[in-house]
């Protein structure tokens, strides 16, 4: 049984169809890539899966997920705006643990230290404010905050596209390591095929709100069936 089944889902904003009749299933433990140009509906689809946006039509079936707010998490594209500038790093990471009462209060600090170590940040960063950290470090904080929920499923919404190229590889490696270590399921949004190639098992291609093609990574990259996928691939160096 798939972890998440998206069935004929749509989202319209007035006459504009951001997502148009999309179906896909996400399997336990896989990394599913989601590719498309900006405005193709990738982010809208991701937010509907998280129930941050309600779909106008269709349904999403969650198997083995009790609480979406805890079991499904997201890492955002821009670490400059995705972390509250007035909240210390440690408190930001502790917040989900408090809200979902995952651990008793006295054990939270140790857990925060563990999470910081997991994302390869020094534990002393817990006492710092976001503006004292670099973009790459903040993105690690975003990852730690998502992992603090102990999720089953993680959406990564172009998690490296706002970072310096030199840092992108480190963060990608970290994400891959974490996925394997914690046996997580990822929906990895990207517009860059080299990133997709490194991270994903399967790839879905979206164009103007519609699902164009979905399949194994090797198959999509070596033998794309759709002209739009070929166009996207030819844009890669």
């Amino acid at each position: 049984m798939s972890l998440i089944e998206v069935k004929k889902i749509s989202k319209s904003y007035g006459p504009v169809k951001a997502v148009d009749n999309v179906s896909l299933s996400i399997e336990h433990g896989e990394v599913l890539g989601l590719v498309g140009e900006s405005g193709s509906g990738k982010s809208t689809l991701a937010r509907m899966i998280l129930r941050l946006i309600e779909p106008t039509a269709g349904e999403i079936v969650y198997n083995g997920i009790q609480n979406i707010r805890k079991d499904c998490q997201i890492v955002f594209q821009d670490p400059q705006t995705s972390i509250n500038p007035r909240i210390k790093i440690g408190e930001a990471i502790a917040e989900p643990i408090l809200i979902h009462k995952i651990l008793p209060k006295e054990k939270i600090f140790r857990r925060v230290a563990e999470l910081l170590t997991l994302v390869e940040l020094p534990v002393r960063y817990a006492k710092r404010f976001p503006h004292e950290l670099s973009g790459g470090e903040r993105q690690r904080v975003g990852i730690a905050r998502a992992l603090a929920c102990e999720p089953e499923f993680l959406i990564l919404d172009e998690p490296v596209s706002a970072l310096d190229v030199s840092i992108q590889v480190e963060v990608l490696k970290l994400l891959k390591e974490i996925q394997q270590k914690l046996a997580l399921t990822y929906l990895f949004i990207a517009h860059d095929f080299s990133v997709i190639n490194y991270m994903c098992d399967r790839v879905a291609v979206m164009h103007e709100g519609k699902m164009v093609e979905i399949g194994q990574k090797e198959q999509i990259i070596t033998m794309p069936q759709e002209p739009y996928t070929r166009k996207l691939l030819s844009a890669v160096l």
Binding site: L50, L52, S82
Partner: protein
């Protein structure tokens, strides 16, 4: 640079006034309500600011008046900030019909000329200092609500608010813990400017006899007492007038300085 110096100047004067207000009983040479022998004495070494029509020491009354005027201003502005922030936050965060309802209420409140509204309410209540503070607070929160709503509209679109939703924060937690601290800058600026307005309103009310009641001294009712003696004892009017003017101006300087720092337009 010029603005900064003005703000510093304003802050210094205000701190001085606040200290004077706090330590009023230790500073005054006479009981502010005591009637001394001679009325309408010109300023002299004995009576720095002269005496009023009843022969009370104007310096002592001005010092105690600072207590009243600053307290009324502060309490009124706190009430207006609490109310304005709460309603503005709800309107800005939830949007939709909550927003429409609250903002139409703001429009209705703004449509009344506030001084007449205050006078009408005061006429129904016993005019004492507590009612003055509450009534000024309840009629001056609308600007704050509009400002805070705008801040919330802007901040709620940032992805850390979305992140807070994704980890399961309740709306109350997002409104107060995640957004409010990021909207504090403009709120503090509004508070400073609002306090200037509240002090002016208190003075006008007391001047009209609907505010702080004699024998308690406020700068406003000192002005009222001075009306009949403008030519014979001009210091009776000049002293409280100057004090109101300086306090309000200082608050504006500080407010403008903060505004520039915070980057609000």
């Amino acid at each position: 640079m010029g603005r900064n110096k003005l703000a510093l100047f304003g802050a210094t004067l205000l701190s001085l006034f606040v200290l004077v207000a706090i330590f009023a009983p230790m500073i005054v040479p006479y009981d502010p309500s005591a009637i001394l022998e001679n009325d309408t004495l010109a300023p002299s070494a004995q009576h720095w600011f002269g005496t009023d029509d009843l022969g009370r020491d104007i310096f002592s009354r001005a010092v105690f008046g600072a207590r009243i005027s600053l307290t009324v201003g502060l309490v009124a502005v706190v009430i207006s900030l609490l109310l304005g922030t709460l309603l503005g936050a709800l309107a800005g965060y939830f949007g939709g019909w909550t927003d429409s309802l609250i903002m139409r209420f703001v429009d209705v409140m703004l449509a009344f000329p506030s001084i007449f509204l205050i006078l009408a309410i005061q006429a129904m209540l016993t005019p004492n200092i507590y009612n003055v503070m509450v009534v000024i607070g309840l009629t001056s929160w609308m600007g704050v609500a509009r400002l805070v709503r705008g801040e919330y509209l802007k901040i709620r679109e940032l992805s850390y608010v979305e992140a807070a939703k994704a980890i399961g924060c309740s709306p109350a937690r997002i409104i107060f813990r995640h957004i409010l601290p990021n909207a504090m800058g403009p709120i503090i600026v509004a508070g400073t400017l609002g306090m200037a307005g509240a002090i002016l309103t208190e003075s006008s009310l007391s001047f009209l006899g609907m505010g702080v009641q004699p024998p308690m001294a406020s700068w406003g009712n000192m002005l009222m007492d001075a009306q009949a003696y403008l030519l014979d004892a001009p210091w009776m009017a000049v002293i409280p007038g100057l004090l109101i003017f300086t306090t309000v101006l200082s608050l504006y300087f500080v407010g403008e300085g903060l505004r520039e720092k915070v980057g609000v337009s």
